[in-house]
């Protein structure tokens, strides 16, 4: 018994140290998670290198990076944070790796008429979920669309704010909010397929930028990864999950 216990303990101690010895450490904004989970194995197969990603919100990852987190490359959900890192001399010049689209999603199939303005103004829609318009890029984009078509002031009393685009989708998918301004990519999840959506054409595309960090301990692997991101293979994966 004692021997088994000590064996298990030894294994527990050994496993994490083995797993963290990757050739490339990626800080990935959480909205891109499903795509990254396909990109990493493909990258590993193509290059023979190992990569490991940490998924969190752009703001949190940014906070970790300014505090010397050991990442090599930062793939954000906006342009602001990579630009700021570059301006502060912490990162190389940012580049765009994906573009997202805002859709109006609902668990109720009656709320997906072609005219999304009429839907959000309809008295049957009591609550409209949107991501934080200040911190979440999808929230900013949705706000701009509503301002562009002149419904922003009227919809305001119905708005509830998610901290991230995934929480916004959660509000809509549990039915707590009747409709939600979500990411096109959430339509491709299991939960997303259960509802319906209409594309919000007036919403500007959500530009996601990335940057290689100056503190990167694996700059060569990072350069290879940047190159791999623009390969046709990755393009196809992005399309599959609703990114351009």
């Amino acid at each position: 018994m004692k021997r088994i216990c000590s064996l298990v303990l030894a294994l527990c101690l050994l496993v994490p140290s083995g797993a963290s010895a990757a050739d490339l450490l990626i800080a990935q904004a959480a909205n891109f998670t499903p795509v990254m989970k396909e990109i990493i194995p493909a990258f590993e197969k193509a290059t023979g290198l190992t990569a490991q990603a940490t998924y969190a919100s752009t703001g949190k990852l940014y906070g970790q990076i300014v505090n010397d987190a050991p990442f090599d490359i930062f793939l954000a959900a906006d342009e602001k944070r990579p630009n700021k890192l570059h301006a502060d001399g912490l990162a190389e010049k940012p580049f765009i790796y994906a573009m997202g689209q805002v859709v109006l999603w609902s668990a109720d199939k009656g709320f997906c008429g072609e005219d999304w303005k009429a839907t959000v103004l309809s008295p049957a829609v009591k609550r409209v979920a949107v991501a934080n318009t200040e911190t979440a890029p999808y929230g900013t984009s949705a706000m701009k669309a509503m301002q562009k078509v002149g419904v922003w002031d009227k919809v305001q009393p119905k708005l509830v704010f998610g901290q991230s685009i995934s929480q916004t989708f959660q509000f809509a998918s549990t039915g707590s909010a009747d409709v939600g301004f979500c990411a096109y990519s959430s339509v491709f999840t299991d939960e997303g397929r259960k509802g319906c959506f209409v594309v919000v054409d007036q919403a500007p595309p959500v530009i996601q930028a990335a940057c290689v960090l100056k503190s990167a301990s694996h700059p060569d692997a990072a350069a290879k990864f940047v190159e791999f991101l623009s390969s046709p293979e990755v393009q196809a994966m992005k399309l599959k999950y609703g990114y351009k």
Binding site: N132, T174, S176
Partner: protein
């Protein structure tokens, strides 16, 4: 600086503190004096919100309190309003996650109560109601005060559950902790600092006042 989130937090903490004895007292006396099968089961269920991650509890409440959940559906039938994303909603959530923090001290003080006191009261002809007001309540004031302090302080700082069921509506559900979190996320560190700095003396003063009341009583 915008004081709304801080005032809202204080309002939520105050109402939670006021309403929680109504829910917690019967449960605490049931656990202290009751002898029935499944008592430890009830105990575990009440203590659950203390152990569960706030996000898990928050998600469960979001489902139950949503218009398709049984609590949210009932509420919408009765009042015509939606329960989630409203002050009533976060107050209800606050009562749920504060329950163990109120039940435990109350139960402890009830269990310390000498049963002979109640027996003598009954022998001397005191009705159960007046026995409650003249014996149980004065003897349990300490426990009640301890419960209030814990509940008030705890709901002033609660974050995860309210984030999940609140929807961060300014003036209705955007409490101080959520507003501070958003300010940090938006890199508005000055705002976050000011709100945090304002919250500390508020908490401190509240605790001082409650401690003073306690000292005078005992």
């Amino acid at each position: 600086m915008d004081w709304t989130p801080l005032i809202l937090s204080a309002k939520l903490a105050f109402w939670t503190m006021l309403l929680i004895p109504v829910v917690a007292s019967p449960l605490a006396s049931l656990l202290a004096f009751g002898r029935f099968r499944g008592k430890s089961l009830l105990d575990a269920v009440i203590t659950l919100p203390m152990v569960m991650p706030p996000t898990v509890l928050g998600f469960a409440l979001l489902v139950v309190m949503g218009p398709r959940g049984f609590m949210g559906g009932l509420w919408e039938d009765l009042t015509g309003n939606r329960l989630v994303f409203s002050f009533a909603g976060i107050l209800m959530a606050s009562l749920v996650f504060n329950l163990p923090f109120a039940v435990q001290p109350l139960r402890a003080s009830l269990e310390k109560l000498d049963p002979r006191l109640l027996e003598s009261a009954a022998v001397l002809g005191l009705s159960p109601l007046s026995a409650f007001f003249r014996i149980v309540l004065p003897n349990c004031l300490g426990g009640l005060a301890a419960a209030s302090i814990l509940v008030f302080a705890h709901s002033l700082g609660e974050f995860g559950v309210i984030l999940m069921v609140g929807g961060s509506i300014p003036g209705q559900t955007q409490v101080a902790s959520v507003a501070i979190f958003e300010a940090v996320e938006a890199l508005r560190f000055d705002d976050a600092f000011r709100m945090s700095a304002a919250l500390i003396p508020v908490c401190f003063v509240v605790l001082l006042i409650i401690n003073k009341i306690n000292a005078r009583r005992s």
